[in-house]
C-alpha cells in the first residue's frame, strides 16, 4: 500500500533529496523563515517542508500532480487535517506501546505486536469511514488513487482476517512445530504451524483438541513434564519461545509495515498540511497567493505580478511591496540601482517563487509563470569576515567554482553582488566571462550588482535577451522598493544611505528593513 500523494509513482522521502547546494539556498534565500512559518512548532513538519521545498521537481507533470492535490486540500482543509491526525495518532500511540518496554523476549514482542495491531485496526476503521463519507468530493488524481486504495485494501473481509489472526496468535491449542537436527543436535529450523481456531462451543473445542492429541499419540512418542519440575517448565517455555520466535518476528515486522504506512501517510500529507499552515499565515496578512503556471523549459517565459518576498512578509507586520517582472524572452536580468531599494528582495523573491513553484506549492504573487528549471543556484555576497580580509575573493571564487561544478544547462543562477570584493574592473571582468559562458550554456542568470562597469557593459551589448531593472528612487531620495525597467546608472546612491544613517542613527536600525 503506497500513499503516493507527493508523486504519481513513487514515495516521498526526507533523506537524500536535497540538492548539493541546499545550505547555500537556505542561507541566501532565508528559507528557514519559510520553513518555520509552515511548521509552527512542529519539528516533523519543519523537516517535511524543508525536504519538500528543496527537492525541486524538474517536470511540469509532477508539479501539476501536486498542485491538484494541494487544490483539494485548500478546498477541504478540515478533512485533510483529520486524515493527517489519524496518522499522527496511530504513530504516537504505537510509540507509546513500545516506549516503556525493552524487547527482551520474543514473547513480549509477540504480545506488544498484538496490542499494536489492535490499535492499527481501529485506525484503519476510522480511515475507512472517512473515505466512505468524503472520498467522492476529492478530484485530484492523487487523492482519487489514495481513497480507492483504502476502499479496496482495507475492505471488511480484510479487516476480518486481521481480527482472526489476533485470535489465533493466542495459541489456545498449544503450538506445533517441526525441526531438524541442528548443530550439536539441538533442534533447529523450527517452523511453527498455525492451528486454526475453530468457532466451536467449548465442549466441542475440547473434543477436537483431545482428538488431535489422541491422533498424535498414535504415531508419536510423548512425555509429560512433572508439575514439580520448575527447570523443566522453564526449558519448555524456552522451547515454546523457539517455536514462536519467527511468528513473533513476523508479527513485529508486520506491525512495523503498518506503522511505516502511517508514517508515509503522515510524511506525504504533512507537506500539504505545511502548505495549509503557510496559506493561513499569509491570508492573515492579506497577502495574495496564486497557483503558478509552470511552463516548458524552452522559450524564456518569466512573468509575474505582485511578486513579493514571502520571508520578508512573514517578518513584517505590514504588507510588503510587490513587483512586476516581464521577463519573456530574457535570459539575463541585471538589477541595479539604489542601495536599500529592494534589489536583493526582488532577487530573493524570484528565487523563492521558483523553488515554491517547483515543489508544487502556491507562489507569493498575484500571478506567476516561469519556465521549469533544472535547479536554482545562488551566489550571494557574504558578510564581511574580519578574519579573512585578504581571502575574500578567493572565497568567492571558490564558491563559484563549486557552483560551476554542480550547475547544468536549464538551471537558474542568482548572483547578488558577486565579485565586488575586488576592484570593479577586475570583478567585472571575472563576472563578465562567467556570465557569458553560463548564458551560452543555457543557464538563466539574475544579477544584482553595483558594478557599473559590468552592468553598463551588458547594457551596451543591447541584446534583446537582456532585461535591466533598476530600483526606483524618487527625486527627493525616497525609495519605493519597486524595481522598474531602466538603464544602469553610474552611482548607487550609497551616499544617501550614508547620510541618512549618520544623520538619523538608530531609526534605521529599528525599522524592519533589510540590509542591501
Amino acid at each position: 500500500m503506497k500513499v503516493f500523494l507527493m508523486f504519481r509513482d513513487h514515495d516521498f522521502s526526507l533523506e537524500g533529496t536535497a540538492p548539493a547546494n541546499a545550505e547555500e539556498l537556505i542561507q541566501d534565500l532565508e528559507l528557514n523563515t519559510l520553513f518555520h512559518a509552515t511548521a509552527g512548532d512542529d519539528k516533523f513538519l519543519l523537516e517535511v517542508a524543508k525536504s519538500g521545498v528543496l527537492a525541486t521537481l524538474k517536470d511540469r507533470e509532477s508539479i501539476h500532480y501536486r498542485q491538484e492535490v494541494l487544490a483539494d486540500c485548500l478546498k477541504f482543509p478540515e478533512i485533510a487535517r483529520e486524515i493527517y491526525a489519524i496518522s499522527v495518532e496511530a504513530i504516537e500511540r504505537e510509540n507509546h506501546i513500545w516506549g516503556y518496554f525493552l524487547m527482551t523476549s520474543p514473547d513480549s514482542l509477540l504480545r506488544r505486536s498484538i496490542e499494536a495491531l489492535g490499535l492499527f485496526l481501529a485506525s484503519f476503521e476510522r480511515l475507512r469511514k472517512l473515505c466512505d463519507e468524503h472520498g467522492s468530493k476529492f478530484h485530484s488524481e492523487g487523492f482519487g488513487w489514495f481513497f480507492a486504495m483504502i476502499t479496496q485494501e482495507l475492505d471488511d473481509a480484510y479487516l476480518q482476517v486481521v481480527k482472526d489472526h489476533l485470535q489465533r496468535l493466542q495459541f489456545p491449542n498449544g503450538i506445533l512445530m517441526t525441526a531438524n537436527l541442528g548443530p550439536d543436535f539441538r533442534g533447529s529450523d523450527y517452523i511453527l504451524h498455525g492451528l486454526e481456531v475453530k468457532k466451536l462451543r467449548w465442549f466441542e473445542q475440547v473434543q477436537e483438541w483431545v482428538g488431535q492429541i489422541g491422533h498424535r499419540n498414535g504415531a508419536g512418542l510423548s512425555f509429560e513434564v512433572d508439575p514439580r519440575d520448575e527447570a523443566g517448565f522453564r526449558a519448555l517455555e524456552a522451547l515454546r519461545t523457539e517455536g514462536i520466535i519467527h511468528v513473533a518476528t513476523a508479527l513485529g515486522q508486520s506491525s512495523d509495515h503498518i506503522l511505516s504506512f502511517f508514517k508515509a501517510l503522515r510524511l506525504e500529507l504533512g507537506f500539504y498540511i505545511a502548505c495549509l499552515n503557510l496559506k493561513e499565515k499569509l491570508a492573515a496578512r492579506d497577502e495574495p497567493i496564486c497557483r503558478p503556471n509552470p511552463l516548458p523549459a524552452e522559450g524564456e517565459a518569466l512573468r509575474c505580478q505582485g511578486l513579493y518576498d514571502v520571508c520578508l512578509s512573514l517578518n513584517t507586520a505590514d504588507r510588503v511591496v510587490g513587483n512586476e517582472v516581464a521577463g519573456e524572452n530574457k535570459d539575463l536580468v541585471v538589477i541595479t540601482g539604489a542601495n536599500r531599494g529592494g534589489k536583493s528582495t526582488l532577487l530573493r523573491s524570484l528565487g523563492l517563487a521558483q523553488l515554491m513553484m517547483q515543489c508544487g506549492m502556491f507562489v507569493p504573487a498575484e500571478a506567476f509563470q516561469a519556465n521549469v528549471c533544472q535547479g536554482v543556484f545562488t551566489h550571494f555576497k557574504r558578510e564581511e569576515d574580519a578574519g579573512m580580509r585578504s581571502g575574500k575573493l578567493d572565497e568567492e571564487l571558490s564558491r563559484m567554482s563549486t557552483i560551476i561544478e554542480r550547475i547544468t544547462p536549464g538551471c537558474v543562477l542568482l548572483l547578488n553582488e558577486s565579485f565586488a570584493s575586488t576592484n570593479e574592473r577586475e570583478g567585472s571582468e571575472i563576472a563578465r566571462q562567467i556570465v557569458r559562458a553560463l548564458l551560452e550554456m543555457n543557464i538563466k542568470v539574475f544579477y544584482v550588482t553595483h558594478m557599473f562597469d559590468l552592468a553598463q557593459g551588458f547594457f551596451r551589448d543591447r541584446m534583446d535577451s537582456f532585461l535591466f531593472l533598476r530600483a526606483e528612487r524618487l527625486d527627493d531620495g525616497t525609495r519605493t522598493f519597486r524595481l522598474l525597467e531602466g538603464e544602469p546608472l553610474p552611482t548607487s546612491f550609497g551616499k544617501d544611505l550614508y547620510t541618512r544613517i549618520f544623520e538619523a542613527q538608530g531609526s534605521v536600525a529599528a525599522g524592519a528593513v533589510r540590509s542591501t
Binding site: 489465533r168 498449544g174 517441526t178 525441526a179 531438524n180 537436527l181 539441538r186 508419536g220 513476523a250 509495515h257
Partner: protein
C-alpha cells in the same frame, strides 16, 4: 552421561602441549620417513625444551614486541618457542627460506590457510565435545570435528599437488599427504563420516507442546504460520523495516527437556543413531601426528607473512637475506626497525629506512650524532636483522647479506638512577665484562650509550678499553655513543651519524648515514632545511652560473 569414546577423541587437541605424539593412532600407515617437519630439515638438531625462554637480548632489540605481534591471536599454537630458536646451520636457514618462497604462491598459501582454519575449527569442535555433558551432543561435536579434519586434510593434499612446490619442505609434506590420503584408514574414515552425516541430515521431527505435555513425531506437517502472518501484512511495507532479531545463544548446553526430546527422536530414528554410536567408538583416535605437527609449525610462516603484509602496506619492503657463516662483510639496503614499523602502521608517519655495509677489515659500526636522530633504532635494526635472518625469515629491507651468528649480546643503558652513580657504573662494567668473556668471533654485540653515568674522560678511557677488547675478539659490533672520538678508533671501525629533520617532526626515525663524526650534524640539518648547506648553496649559485655561462 559422559561417554568413553568422545572423551578419547579430544586427546588430539592436547598433543602439542605435551609434544609427545602418540604415533600409534591406528590410522596412519608407514609415514614417509623423510618428512618430519616444515621448520627443520633432516639435519637440524632440536631437542625438547629448547626455546622455553626468550633470549636475554630480546627486550633490548624490541624483538619481544615483534614476537608479541607475531603470536597474538595464535596462543593455541604455542609459537613463542619457535621464535626463540635462531638457527645454527645455513642449510636450515635456506630450508625455511625455500618454504617462504613456496608460500609466495598465492594458491599454495591459500590452501595452507584453509587447512589451518579447518584444523582450528576441528579443535573447537573437540573442545566442545569435551565440555558437553550429554552423550548425543558429544557425538555431534565429534562428528563435526572429524568431518572438518577430513576436509582440511583432503583440501591440503589437493592444494599441494596442484601448486607444484619447489621447497624440499613442501615437497616432503606433499609426498607424505599423498600416501596418507590413499591409505585404507583415511579413506574409510572419510566414507563413514559422510554416511553418518547424510543419515542425520534426513532426520526431521515435529514437536507439539500443550501445557505440560510434549509429543514428538516423525511426521512432517506443512505450512509456516509466520509466513502466513507476514503475507497478510506485507502490503503495508514501505521500505526496509527495523529488524526484530533475537540472538538465540548458540552453544547452550542441552537441558533435560531437549535431551528427552532428542532421545525420543533417536528412538523414532533408531538405525542412524545406532550407526553413530559405532562410528564414535571406532574412530576416536583419528588425527595424524605429522599433520598435527605441520598444522602448528606452519603457523610460524603464516604469522610472519601476515606481519609482512601489514608492514608492506606502509610501503616498506622485505627481502630474502643471504645468510652465511663464512663472511662478515654484512650489508643491508633500505632496512628498518620492524618493531617500530609495526607500531607506525596506520599512524601516518613515515618510517625512514637506512643502509649499512661493512667491508674487510671493518667490524664495528660506531653511531654518533644528535639525539632523537634514530641512533638507537639503527643499532636495534642491525641486531634484529641478524636475528630474523637466523630464524630463516625474510628481513626488512630491499637486499641484505647477513652473518649467521653463534650468539648475540646487547648492552643497553638501564633506567637512569642518579642516586647510585657508582653502583651503576660498576654494574655496567660487570655486565660488559661478562659479555666479553663469553663472546667469540662469531658473536654480534649491540651496545647503546655506555658509560653515560660517569665523567667524559672516564667514559673515554673505559670505552677505548672496551673497544680494544672488541677489536681483539674480531666480532661484529654496533655501538651507539656520544663520544665522537670512538668513531675513528681504528681501521675496523666505521663511523655513522644520525641526522635530524626539524622541518618535519612527523618523521619519527631518521637517516643514519655513513659519514665521519664531526659534531656538526645538527647544524647541517638546519642548513639543509633552508637550502643553505655548503652543497645546496654551491648548487644554487652554480645553477645561476650555469645559466650565465650558457648565454
Amino acid at each position: 552421561m559422559p561417554s568413553q569414546s568422545a572423551d578419547n577423541s579430544t586427546r588430539a587437541s592436547e598433543q602439542w602441549s605435551k609434544d609427545k605424539l602418540d604415533s600409534d593412532l591406528g590410522l596412519n600407515q608407514d609415514p614417509d620417513e623423510i618428512f618430519r617437519s616444515i621448520l627443520f630439515d633432516e639435519y637440524a638438531t632440536w631437542t625438547e625444551g629448547d626455546g622455553a625462554d626468550a633470549p636475554v637480548f630480546f627486550g633490548d632489540l624490541n624483538l619481544d614486541q615483534i614476537v608479541h605481534s607475531l603470536t597474538t591471536g595464535r596462543d593455541e599454537y604455542n609459537l613463542r618457542p619457535l621464535f626463540y630458536l635462531p638457527l645454527k646451520r645455513p642449510e636450515t636457514v635456506r630450508y625455511r627460506q625455500d618454504v617462504f618462497r613456496d608460500l609466495e604462491n598465492s594458491e599454495l598459501l591459500q590452501s595452507v590457510r584453509s587447512f589451518a582454519a579447518g584444523m582450528r575449527t576441528m579443535r573447537a569442535h573437540l573442545a566442545l565435545s569435551e565440555k558437553r555433558y550429554y552423550k548425543r551432543q558429544k557425538q555431534a561435536c565429534f562428528l563435526d570435528a572429524v568431518e572438518t579434519y577430513c576436509n582440511a586434510t583432503a583440501g591440503l593434499t589437493q592444494g599441494l599437488i596442484v601448486a607444484l612446490p619447489n621447497s624440499s619442505g613442501f615437497q616432503g609434506l606433499r609426498d607424505f599427504l599423498i600416501g596418507y590420503s590413499g591409505s585404507e584408514g583415511f579413506t574409510t574414515l572419510t566414507r563413514e563420516t559422510e554416511t553418518v552425516r547424510l543419515g542425520l541430515q534426513k532426520v526431521k521431527y515435529s514437536v507439539h507442546i500443550q501445557s505440560a505435555r510434549v509429543t514428538v513425531d516423525r511426521n512432517d506437517v506443512d505450512g509456516d504460520y509466520s509466513q502466513e502472518v507476514l503475507q497478510t501484512f506485507e502490503k503495508f511495507r514501505q521500505a526496509d523495516p527495523r529488524s526484530h532479531r533475537f540472538k538465540v545463544p548458540a552453544s547452550i548446553e542441552m537441558n533435560h527437556i531437549e535431551e528427552h526430546i532428542l532421545d525420543l527422536v533417536a528412538k523414532l530414528h533408531s538405525e542412524i543413531f545406532a550407526h553413530l554410536d559405532e562410528y564414535c567408538r571406532r574412530f576416536c583416535g583419528y588425527c595424524d601426528e605429522v599433520i598435527a605437527r605441520f598444522d602448528r609449525e606452519v603457523q610460524f610462516y603464516l604469522a610472519y607473512l601476515e606481519q609482512m603484509e601489514r608492514v608492506k602496506k606502509a610501503g616498506l619492503s622485505f627481502c630474502y637475506p643471504q645468510v652465511t657463516s663464512q663472511s662478515k662483510e654484512v650489508q643491508a639496503l633500505a632496512t628498518y626497525d620492524l618493531a617500530l614499523a609495526n607500531q607506525m602502521i596506520g599512524a601516518r608517519t613515515v618510517v625512514v629506512t637506512n643502509d649499512f655495509y661493512l667491508q674487510e677489515p671493518e667490524r664495528i659500526i660506531v653511531v654518533s650524532g644528535p639525539n632523537q636522530g634514530g641512533k638507537t633504532t639503527f643499532a636495534r635494526t642491525f641486531g634484529q636483522l641478524h636475528y630474523l635472518g637466523a630464524l630463516g625469515c625474510l628481513v626488512p629491507g630491499v637486499s641484505a647479506k647477513l652473518f649467521l651468528f653463534e650468539s648475540i649480546f646487547t648492552h643497553f643503558e638501564k633506567e637512569e638512577d642518579l642516586q647510585n652513580l657508582r653502583g651503576k657504573l660498576e654494574d655496567e662494567l660487570i655486565r660488559i665484562n661478562d659479555i666479553l668473556e663469553r663472546a667469540t668471533e662469531n658473536s654480534i654485540l649491540v651496545m647503546n650509550e655506555s658509560f653515560l653515568s660517569t665523567t667524559l674522560s672516564d667514559a673515554l678511557f673505559l670505552s677505548r678499553e672496551v673497544m680494544k677488547r672488541i677489536t681483539g675478539l674480531n666480532m661484529l659490533c654496533v655501538t651507539v655513543t656520544f663520544l665522537d672520538e670512538l668513531a675513528a678508533f681504528n681501521e675496523t671501525t666505521v663511523s655513522m651519524i644520525s641526522t635530524v629533520n626539524p622541518k618535519d617532526p612527523q618523521q619519527r626515525t631518521f637517516k643514519v648515514i655513513r659519514k665521519p663524526a664531526d659534531g656538526l650534524a645538527y647544524a647541517a640539518a638546519i642548513a639543509e632545511k633552508y637550502h643553505l648547506t655548503y652543497d645546496a648553496v654551491k648548487a644554487r649559485v652554480g645553477a645561476k652560473h650555469g645559466e650565465g655561462s650558457q648565454s
